[in-house]
């Protein structure tokens, strides 16, 4: 499989402490990457990814690192993106100044998180000022909403996205990170309710402030030490080499091609029952973690998928080509 974007999580610190945050970021959270680690990781990863995304925590709390990443990404000919909570757009002047600086540094895409949790710090007016300032640049803009789409924040996000003709993405709150206390436990471990679709997150690896590298920018950060979602960068391996090992992993390619539900068929009855009992909810992420955290499940999968390893890799290439064609057709 081909990676999409490498996330560089510059810091764990955020000026917000949202109850759904999968990275447990907050004003008191500590841990930053330093520039040497970042530069080495990006240069090493450059031939494995299409782009670099600055993320956190709140990246603009580490302004110098954030702008350094954007400039280096541009210098290497990769696509640059950033996820922010938009706290800096409280006045029109500040929104325009920072948007202008990001544009001048070469940022291709800015995604702003906005939902019922983020709107405690970022008002609808601030969101609109940010989007309005961004609309005057060449940057692609996106609003990222997380929640049940039944609150005022969703309607605000939808309204702003529609009026400025920008993308609004939605995602459910996941029972990981701080979100674990927010999502009610499932009434049943109904594995049939888990979506049976390709995963779009397993090709978006992330480097954390702790120097850990995960193949998935979702809820992988406390994964089992032997999980296939955890790539071996912490042991001194170059990030590019670690990404390369994931590209040909049978388990990762099957998650990419068909989603984690398809892995269940490869498991023994006993292991499948145990994995199902460990579901936190019926999201794909919960099932993926339940499988990949289970060492026996991983051993069974490695054994059963090994003979078809190259077929999974080849299918990933065909799937990616098909997905890219659909995206291009939609943009026309």
């Amino acid at each position: 499989m081909r990676y999409n974007t490498l996330g560089i999580q510059v810091t764990n610190t955020c000026n917000m402490a949202c109850p759904h945050c999968i990275t447990d970021s907050s004003p008191s959270a500590r841990g930053d990457l330093d520039w040497d680690e970042i530069e080495r990781a990006i240069r090493s990863a450059a031939s494995h990814v299409d782009g670099i995304c600055v993320t956190g925590g709140e990246p603009l709390l580490k302004r110098e690192l954030t702008f350094g990443i954007i400039r280096l990404t541009r210098e290497l000919g990769l696509r640059s993106s950033m996820v922010t909570n938009g706290y800096w757009s409280r006045t029109r002047q500040t929104a325009e100044r920072i948007m202008g600086e990001l544009d001048a540094a070469g940022l291709d895409k800015l995604a702003v998180s906005y939902d019922q949790f983020h709107d405690r710090l970022v008002s609808p007016v601030s969101l609109e000022q940010l989007v309005q300032a961004g609309a005057a640049t060449s940057m692609e803009l996106q609003i990222q909403y997380c929640g049940a789409r039944q609150d005022t924040a969703y309607h605000t996000a939808r309204d702003v996205a529609d009026r400025y003709d920008i993308e609004l993405t939605t995602a459910e709150v996941l029972p990981f990170g701080r979100g674990r206390d927010l999502v009610a436990a499932p009434v049943t471990n109904d594995v049939d309710a888990v979506p049976n679709e390709p995963c779009g997150v397993v090709t978006r690896p992330v480097l954390t402030p702790e120097g850990e590298l995960f193949t998935c920018c979702g809820p992988a950060r406390d994964a089992d030490s032997t999980s296939p979602l955890r790539l071996p960068a912490a042991s001194g391996t170059e990030v590019g080499d670690a990404l390369g090992s994931g590209e040909t992993s049978s388990i990762l390619n099957v998650i990419h091609n068909h989603g984690p539900r398809s892995l269940l068929d490869q498991l023994s009855e006993e292991t499948r029952a145990r994995v199902t009992e460990n579901l936190r909810d019926t999201s794909m992420c919960s099932l993926c973690r339940a499988i990949t955290d289970d060492r026996e499940a991983v051993a069974e999968l490695n054994a059963s998928l090994a003979s078809e390893q190259y077929r999974h890799v080849a299918l990933a290439a065909v799937l990616r080509q098909t997905q890219d064609t659909l995206t291009t057709d939609t943009e026309r």
């Binding site: 974007t5 996330g7 999580q9 999968i22 990275t23 995304c53 993320t55 993106s81 950033m82 996820v83 895409k109 995604a111 998180s113 996106q142 990222q144 997380c146 993405t169 995602a171 459910e172 996941l174 979506p195 049976n196 679709e197 390709p198 995963c199 779009g200 997150v201 978006r204 992330v206 920018c217 979702g218 809820p219 990419h256 091609n257 068909h258 989603g259 999201s283 794909m284 992420c285 190259y310 077929r311 080849a314 299918l315 065909v318 799937l319 098909t322 997905q323 659909l326």
Partner: protein
């Protein structure tokens, strides 16, 4: 005349598949499920 790269630097073919076969193996839904939003 251009220089030949060292044989060891050339990618090695480890397997070949018919694209038609692979297309038949594509999932019904090809749109990837994006279920969280840390990375854009």
């Amino acid at each position: 005349m251009h220089e030949e790269s060292e044989p060891s630097e050339r990618p090695a073919v480890v397997a070949t598949f018919s694209k038609e076969d692979l297309v038949n193996d594509l999932p019904e839904v090809v749109t990837p499920h994006i279920h969280t939003v840390q990375n854009s």
